[in-house]
Structures are given as structure tokens and as C-alpha cells.
Amino acid sequence: MESIVLAIIIVAAIGLIAGLGLAVASKVMAVPVDEKAEKIKAVLPGANCGACGFSGCAGYAAALSEGKTKNTALCAPGGTAVSLEVAKITGLSAGSVVPSSAVVLCRGTSQNVSKRFVYSGVESCKMAAQLFGGPNSCSFGCLGYGDCAAQCEYDAIHICDGVARINPVACHACKKCVNTCPRGIIKMLPLNMAKAAVLCNNHSKGAQTRKDCSAGCIGCMKCEKTCEYGAVKVVNFCAVVDYEKCVGCGKCHEACPVKCIDIMNLKA
């Protein structure tokens, strides 16, 4: 009988001491929670996409509240609306986010590109790209195994006829696909604006590009000569568009012999 009482006393005492100790410790050593950061985090869309350059929404909220960044317009999925809300909380000035969408700059569909060998390895662009530059005749273009589609949290990317296609309506501009693509052929393009886009990344010389893909940029310089605004330049046998200068007039598209330069007007 006595030992039961003693046991109860000992356990109760240890529990009481531990409980009191913890209660006192949590009061004495309480760390103030950053309320501003919590508020900002509630406003942010919670996509945790990393487009802002911080480790998720919490990271961006903490950086804003601690003054590490004063740019409220870094959140691509949230856009201008979120920038306004964040500005209200932080007292910083709101910025406008140019809405944009990711675009796969490749036209290497099964009609335009041939297979050099049959690839039967892991269904992954990263893996396929490491094996002799991929099974396609063009070693610059889309591999079509959908590494980008697997990364997309908004179901915006689908593989159509061997090439990834991005739906600008569903795209939240989080840039995960841009960073995933082993070929680096996914770029961000502004929405609701007519801009020329070069749908090719083949840097081989014209004759080789012709062999690789029937829709590839052969670096003929016609677009560069036609452009009245100096927006198109051929660099390393492939045309590049300067979006600051491009007005979307469409003359380069008319001049292009392979029609790999196109006027995009993405609507969301």
C-alpha cells in the first residue's frame, strides 16, 4: 500500500516539476512572433513556388517584414493585387507585376524532328538528355518526357506530339518549369502583348539545323534585316528577340523562311 502511494507521489511530482518548468520556460524564453510577417504570409497566395527568389512564401514574408527587400512586386502568382495588399501592410510602395506566362520555345514535333535512336530508359528529360544528347535529331529542342509537366502544380503543361505546351490561362508564372528544363528552352513571355518569339534554340549552323529539324532557325539573318526597331538579333546562328524593343509588328514572321519566328499574343 505504502509503495503505491509513493509511486503515485513520485510520478506526480516529476510531472508537476516538468510541467511547471516548461510553463515557466515558455514564458521566460518566449520568442516574439513577427506579426507583420504572419500578416504578409496570409496575403501571399501560398504557392511556395520560389518565383520571388526566397524560400517559399514564408521566406518572402520574413524578408519583407525584416526589410531585407523593399520590392513588393516579386510575387508572380499573386500579381499586382497581392503587391497592393503587401504594400498596405508594410507601408512600402506597391509595384505592378507584368503578368507573364511560360512558353516552350520549340517546334520539334514528330513531323519536324526525326529520331536518331529508340530511347527506352527512364521517362525523364534529364535522363534522356544525358544519353548522346537525347534521341531526337535536334539536340537543342524539347525532349517531350515531361519533366516540366511533372513540376507544374497548376496542370498547365501537357505534352502534345512530343513537345511540351503550356496553357497561358493556367500558368501562374512560378518559373518552376523554367528551372527544371534540362535544355533551358522554357522562357517567360508577357501576357496580353503582341511580341515576336523565336520558337527555336538550335545553335548549329544553318545546314546542320536543316538536317536536325525542318522548323528550326537557320540563322539566315532575314529577320534581323527586316526589323525596323532593331529588336531581333541573330546570335550564334539563332535569332533572339529583345522584348523591350519588340512592338509585335509581325514583319520578321513574314520574312522568316522557316516560320520559326512567330508573333505571340498570349491571353489569360
Binding site: 509503495s3 510520478v11 516529476i14 520556460a25 515558455s26 530508359g121 527512364v122
Partner: protein
């Protein structure tokens, strides 16, 4: 000294907590996907094991054994370890935020992990003195780390493999874990051989 070394090697290799005693399997399967999280978790485990032993040893010796209350060991140790880890978490959060951020997620996870409780109970079962108990707990933690790091390597290799659909995920992980465990059978008799 020789005894301590033998206890340490036994805890790390021949009686590895995960691969030979099958304690702490949950974090072993749960957080071994990446090397850095596996190392972070193991660091927390070593720390908590050592701390738990340091605190429970005197409680057992001067409170429970003295009053013939050994049957209370399990419940008292769980209580003490849980409270202790919570306390350490609060202290770390206040004074060492970087360490808290790297260990923080794993600390509450292992408050009452069976491996932590296991090492404390085994120390008593084997009738170690205080120094040997500490050596045994740190050795058990190191063994935990060894198993975690090895298995993280195995799992990273698995990521790149073309695994049949019915084996993907947990099945292949468990098969891999059992194979790693079999490899530790090779250490049987090692410590006895060295210190014979």
C-alpha cells in the same frame, strides 16, 4: 578504456539500433530521402540520446531503485524525456535560432522515439555505470547516423532506377532496408574478436 571502446563499437556496428535491433524505423524510412535531412535528424538523435541518458540515469539510481520502484521506469522515462526535449527546444529557439532551425523540425519528432527510450532502458538492463551509459548512448546515436547516411545514399540511387510499378515507393524502400540490414550481419562477432 578498452571496455568503453568495446561498448562504443558494439553500439555502432554489431548492435546497430536500426539495422540489428529494429528500433527507430519510423525516422529511418521517413527522413532518409535526402542526405542533409538524414544528417540533421541523426544529429538531433545523438543529442537527445546523450541528454536523455544523462538525466534518466540519476533518476533511476537515486529515485526509483532506492524505493524499489523499477516498474515505473518506462512511464517516468517517457515523461522526463518528453519534458526535457520540449525544454531544450524552447532554449534553442531563444538562444540558438540557427541550430533550432536546422534541428527544430526533428526535435519534437524524436521526443518519445522508441530508439531514445530503448537506449535508456538498455543501459539499465546491461547494468552500465554512468560513463559507460553515456558511451553506449552516443554510440547508439552514431550507429543511427551511420545507418541513416548509408540508407540515404541507397535511396538516392533508387531515385534514378527504373523500378517496376508494383515495387515503387515503400515496397522497394523496405526491400532495400532489409538488404542494408543483412549487410550488418557481417559485423557479428567483430567486437568479441577484437577485444578477446
Amino acid at each position: 578504456m578498452k571496455l568503453m571502446l568495446s561498448v562504443l563499437l558494439t553500439a555502432v556496428l554489431t548492435e546497430n539500433f536500426i539495422l540489428c535491433k529494429f528500433l527507430g524505423i519510423c525516422p529511418f524510412l521517413g527522413v532518409s530521402k535526402k542526405l542533409n535531412t538524414a544528417v540533421g535528424m541523426s544529429g538531433a538523435v545523438i543529442f537527445v540520446m546523450a541528454l536523455a541518458t544523462a538525466v534518466t540515469y540519476p533518476i533511476n539510481k537515486f529515485l526509483l531503485v532506492k524505493h524499489d520502484l523499477e516498474y515505473l521506469q518506462t512511464i517516468v522515462f517517457i515523461l522526463v524525456i518528453a519534458a526535457l526535449v520540449q525544454f531544450v527546444e524552447i532554449v534553442l529557439k531563444k538562444f540558438m535560432p540557427p541550430l533550432y532551425n536546422s534541428l527544430g523540425i526533428y526535435l519534437p519528432l524524436i521526443t518519445t522515439n522508441c530508439a531514445v527510450l530503448g537506449v535508456v532502458m538498455l543501459n539499465i538492463g546491461k547494468e552500465f555505470n554512468f560513463a559507460l551509459s553515456m558511451v553506449n548512448s552516443i554510440g547508439a546515436g552514431l550507429g543511427f547516423m551511420l545507418a541513416m547516411v548509408m540508407f540515404a545514399g541507397v535511396r538516392q540511387k533508387l531515385e534514378g532506377c527504373d523500378i517496376p510499378k508494383f515495387m515503387q515507393g515503400l515496397p522497394i524502400t523496405l526491400v532495400a532496408a532489409s538488404l542494408v540490414s543483412v549487410s550488418f550481419l557481417g559485423f557479428t562477432g567483430l567486437v568479441d574478436g577484437i577485444f578477446a
